[in-house]
Every structure is written in C-alpha cells, then in structure tokens.
Symmetry: C2
Subunit: 407 residues, 2 copies
C-alpha cells in the first residue's frame, strides 16, 4: 500500500534521505517536498513546493521535518501531531526546546514522533535506549556528540593544526554549521544531551540548565600538556544518575588511551551507556554527513512502518517531567590570567602553578559555574581522569613549557 | 494482563534472567522453571520442575530456552513455535544449526523467535540489524565474539601471562566453558558469525562451512612479534559481501591502535558493521556474564511484548536461503616447522624467514584451508593489517628473537 509522505526541507539531511529513498524503494520518495528559498539552485528533475500547507492538504501518512528553522519546524511538527500523523524529525533544537509538549501531543492525538537523527546522527542510541535498555536502570550516559568539534580536535591532535586552521577545514568539509558558534561552544551538544537524558532517565532537564563549556577557549598550553602526557582532549557530554538525582554537563576532557572515546576521531560520534544489568556499552558511528544522517531518518521511517514508536518507558507520567540537576563538583584543570577568577570558583585545590602569565590550578569546580566561565572568554577548564595526579599535571605543564621554549 | 512464562534451564543465563525479572517486574518471573539435574544444589525459595511437558501444559505466552543441550533445546523450541508461542533463546549452537527450519516454523505457525543473547551477549547487534539497518546494504561485519578467547588474549598482552595460565584464569573467572575447546578453537565464534550473516546478508552459510582458525596454536613467537610492533592480536570474525558473493572466516588478527578492536579487552565483545548509508558503526559491550546475558534475554521479552519480531528483511524467500562462501585469499603470517606445509597453502609470497627451527612466511592463504591447518596443530596463521609490510614483519621477527635471546 502506497503511503503519502510530505518532506519539509531539502538541505544536507533531506538530500541524503531523498537519495536513499530513490535507490531503495520508490514508495518512500516524498510526494511533496516543501522548501523555502525560491532562488536556490535545486535539481531540475524534482518538483518542489513553496507552500507548507500543501503537505497537509494531501493527508500524509508521514511527515519528515528536516529544516533548521526552529519556529517553522514547531508549526509543522505540532500541526502534524495534532492530526495523529507519524512525524520524523532531525531537528535537535526543536526537540530539545519542546519535547514535553511534543510527548503530550503524541499521547493525546495518537501520532508518533521519531527522531533518531537528532541525537547522534547515524548511531541508533535513542532506539536502543527505548528497546534494549527499556527496563534497565541507566546510571550513566557519556558521549562525543558534535562531529564538528571532534573533527577540529582530531586535526589539532593528529595533524598539529592550530585551532583556527582546524575550524576553517571543518567548515570547508561541511562538518561545521555556517555559524560554527553552536558547534564549538557546546550548545549543539547540550541540545543532544538534553534529548538523551529524557530517554535515559525519563526526566526533562532543559538545555539552558545543562552546564556547558565548549572548546573555543582551548589554548596551546592545554593542548601541549595533553600531548606531553600522551592524552587527547575530547568534548565530552556526561550525565549520571544516583540516589541523589541527575548530574549532567559538557566539558572538554583529557582522555587516556584506555578510554574508548580516545579512538573517536574526525566526524565520528560515540555514546557510552552504563546500566545496572547490561553494564557498559559503547556505540560509535558517523555523527555528521548527508548519507548517515539521511539513513537515520530513513531508518526511523522503516521502524515506524513496522509499528515501532518510543514508549518513553523511563518517564513516570504521574510526576513532573522537569527535574533540576545536581551540582556536584567536577575535578578540572583551570587556566586563567586572573588568580582571583580561579579562586572564585575552585575548591578542593590540589595544584597552583604560574607559567608565562597564566595561572594553572587543579581542583573542583561546580558545574553551575561552567556557562559563566565559558562566556567570560578568558578562562579554560578541562575535566581530568581520576587517575591523573596533580603531580603528573605539574610535570606535564613544565615539560610542555620546555618543549615550547626549545622551538 | 499477566503473561505465562515457561523457562527451560537455570544456569548462568537463566539465573541472570530470574534475578532481573524478580527485581524489575513480578509479572516476568517464570511460573514454570524446568531443570534437568535433580541433585544439583538450587535456591530453596524457587519451585523447580523436572518435567518439560509442564511448561506446555500451562499454555505459556512466552518460552525461554536457556539450556546448553542442543537436542533438547531443539525439541522445546520447535514444540513452542509449532504452538505459535513467542520463544526467546540464547542457544547459539541450536540457532546456528537450525535457523532455516526455525524461520520457517515462525512463518507457518505465526510464533516469534528472538535470540539477541546468542550472538554477542549484551550487545543488541541483531536488533539493530533488524531495525536501524533493515534497509541498508551491509557490506561488512566484523567482530570479537568470544569473551573467553578475548580474556585470554588480554591476559597475555596486558599481563604477560602464558597461554595456559591465561586459560586457567579465564576458567576460574567463569568466562570459559567447562570444555574450553569450543571457545579457543573458534567454533563458538563460527556459530555466532553464522547467525549474524543471516541477519546481515539474508543468507545461511552453515557454521561448518565458515573457515575457522582459533587461538589455541598461538605461539610465543607471534606474541613477541605483535608486542615488538606495538600491535595486539584479537580473534576476529569477518564477513564481507560484494557483487561476487559473501566471504566469511575467523582468524587471529594483528590489530593496530587505530583499529577499534584494539581497545576491546577482557570479556568484552564488539561488532563493527559497515553499510552503504550508515557507513561504519562499532558496538562494544559485555560478551559474557550472568547479568548482561540475562538482560539481553529480558530485553528480548520486553521487545516481544511491544510487538517486535525479526522481519528477516534481508532474506529473499523466493530463493534458497543457503549460500556458498567465496574463497578469496587472506594475507597472513604463517608459522610452521614444515616448509612444505607452508608451500602447500601459501600463494603471493612476500617473505620467507627461518628462525629457531620455525619457518615464517607472509603471503595469502585461501580460507578453505583454515580448518585443516587449525586441526593439524603444528601451524599458526595470523591475518595482517593491509598497511603492515613484509619488511616491518621481518624486522619485528628479528627484534622479537633478539629480545628473547637477551632474557
């Protein structure tokens, strides 16, 4: 039986979806494709519409929402869900902002909303949280969730590029958004972690409440330090749950070779899930790109066709969905020109070193201070592995400084 | 609505399942548990039955088959499927031997058979092949699929243990079967690869037709060589598909640090899936243990309750399910006391070296010769990374030999 499919958007993801549908099964080619810009050059063999209403006039079985504008996406997705239609979305900003309402609309009107591509592109992490882990108690979820930041870090660590050269290359390769701010300041990761927390813990945190420190202030000193210790830096999103509640934050992190994120390079994403029974699982796959992301959208459509939908089984619908995060200290290396800035946030100090006009300190920082530090632009923080001592860091800093002086 | 569940077997997996069900939801505690041995010590608070028929007399909704005896498992599973019951099995030997018939029984009688725990214990690889990858074209599937072999290799490479000491430790830890032969000779891996090939490529190879070389003949020389090159050895199962057909085999393999299997240690399993659209994905998780394996069985039950079943979407039911493997040469390092034995299997030679009474050669070997070599007990083969040259191997062999002489 032929199904009617309406597609909003024909950007990187929409084109990937279209290419796959055309190759796999004619029935999954959208009968309406709505785009916004009439003057953009597009394939001449595809008929485009500029009228969003046309999708709904045709009574679609499925709506694919693959645009970037959050407000318009909200209109289309809520309209479709109110009609009980199955919707596939890849729009992390939309989902992260409106998940509670979008879940409610599914429950009231009987439509379905799937969005595997929104969290880690090609990696089926939401599907697995909703099936394999459905009745397992998840205690931690960690991830490398931004392909662009990770590509930049790979170029810095594996090819010796400067931050700005690495960023330019990421943009040329199409891994970074036009405005790369949301990639490198961690805001894109916060949207994804916010979505994943709902499926892992059944709670809605709200991305504005997730303490976020990006990679944009990563200095040469920290990079040299990591290299001298044989470690890498990855932008890690981390969420944990225990009897006290949920902790979650995003922070550049020193990772040792034994850490599975150590080997996650370039535009790859990865997620590590720790649960009570299945214990530790690690998934790695493409976190960007037209085909992998389009394939995740296509995969959602096939899953929906087979009757699959998210059960949100971790959610207790008799209680508020919203939850406040814990604010437990994270052990970090902090660098700043201002010693008083460090003193204002650091506790349990282990190290205090002064090199080349910078103060370096090791100690704990409360996540609620991350965003303020991130925005100040004059400070860098990096989370540390438990087994890396302050002495090793001190030696590493001296060693990195000497290496620099020898250049 | 309460469902009736019959459980066959109360070994490591059955106990793991029971423990999880008891903690999660009373409704998933089996109402009948059939065991064989009346004289084995068992928990006094659980009622056991010794009569398999009792399970069927109670008209169960679900049958869990978690025993090791293949013939008895075949009786219980086919009986249940003929009654249209949903069956969960963790019995790789049963499934590998009888999948074509078991698929047919599902199609004829409308029952379902799920068996995630049979292929890589806790890792949801079959579920993902059947959902996320359902309409993607899989071109390669590789895995570390035997936790016991991998545990032994970890002890050899990370702790300097001898093969026999490492095997003894694996048995003490409960990772190796009572008769460890099937773990270390690759036969257990062949069962799993055979099952995975059906879900990845839609073809039944038959485990007896999968060329298999285990780790039991791994000598000190190859281990020293790997260490001197900064590489590790992993027992890798590999299947590939191209326009000519399917290749599949199991062989100890030298892996470099950039290979994601390099970091898979101890009782962990891992699977790498390469497909046309999603491209490269890598999953790692516990490949043994009561809770992770029991959780995979429990997960199957929850998936089945939600309506999930395998679609076998890669299978073309109008064509024979059985397929013969291609027999393309694999580039290996081969070691033997007999030069003529090497000459009888090696082609495209790149290296021929004589050290301490052994002949070492690099070249290609057809997989159809693996089993014969494996059984001869006097030869070792290891697959090589493409970028490792014969010169590097020659240097490595000399280096390993010198290191030994210095001891």
């Amino acid at each position: 039986m032929t199904k009617r499919i309406g597609l909003f958007g024909f950007g990187v993801v929409g084109q990937g979806y279209y290419q796959i549908a055309k190759k796999q099964k004619e029935q999954w080619i959208p009968d309406t494709i709505v785009v916004k810009n009439k003057f953009k050059r597009r394939p001449s063999d595809i008929k485009f519409s500029y009228n969003p209403q046309e999708v709904f006039d045709k009574n679609p079985d499925y709506v694919l929402e693959l645009i970037s504008n959050t407000e318009e996406a909200y209109q289309y997705v809520t309209e479709a869900l109110k009609r009980g239609i199955t919707v596939i979305s890849a729009n992390k900003k939309l989902l992260s902002a409106h998940l509670p309402e979008l879940i409610q609309l599914q429950r009231v009107f009987g439509g379905k909303l799937l969005y595997e591509a929104a969290a880690a592109a090609g990696i089926p992490v939401i599907t697995n949280l909703e099936t394999h882990f459905e009745e397992d108690n998840i205690v931690a979820l960690e991830g490398v969730l931004n392909g662009s930041s990770n590509y930049i870090l790979s170029r810095i660590f594996n090819n010796g590029l400067s931050f700005s050269d690495a960023l330019r290359l990421a943009q040329q390769k199409g891994f970074a958004e036009d405005d790369p701010k949301f990639d490198i300041n961690g805001s894109d990761v916060a949207s994804k972690l916010n979505i994943l927390c709902l499926h892992a813990f059944g709670k809605f945190i709200g991305e504005a409440h997730i303490p976020t420190f990006g990679i944009q202030h990563l200095g040469e000193e920290e990079i040299a330090l990591a290299k001298s210790l044989g470690l890498k830096i990855k932008l890690i999103a981390k969420a944990e749950k225990d009897y006290r509640g949920i902790s979650a934050f995003i922070i550049p992190t020193l990772v040792a070779e034994y850490n599975p994120f150590h080997g996650v390079e370039n535009e790859y994403n990865a997620v590590k899930i720790t649960s009570e029974h299945l214990q530790e699982q690690f998934y790695q796959g493409k976190g960007a790109g037209s085909l992998p992301t389009g394939a995740a959208v296509y995969g959602d459509l096939i899953k929906a066709k087979n009757g699959f939908g998210y059960n949100y089984s971790k959610v207790n619908f008799d209680k508020p969905l919203e939850e406040k995060l814990l604010n437990l200290g994270v052990r970090v290396l902090i660098k700043s020109k201002s010693e008083s800035q460090i003193e204002s946030v650091l506790f349990s100090p282990e190290l205090n070193q002064h090199i080349d006009g910078y103060h370096f300190a090791v100690g704990k920082v409360k996540p609620k201070n991350f965003n303020r530090l991130n925005e100040s632009g004059e400070v860098s923080i990096i989370a540390l592995p438990d087994d890396l001592s302050a002495d090793q860091i001190s030696e590493g800093l001296n060693c990195a400084q000497n290496a620099e002086e020898m250049v």
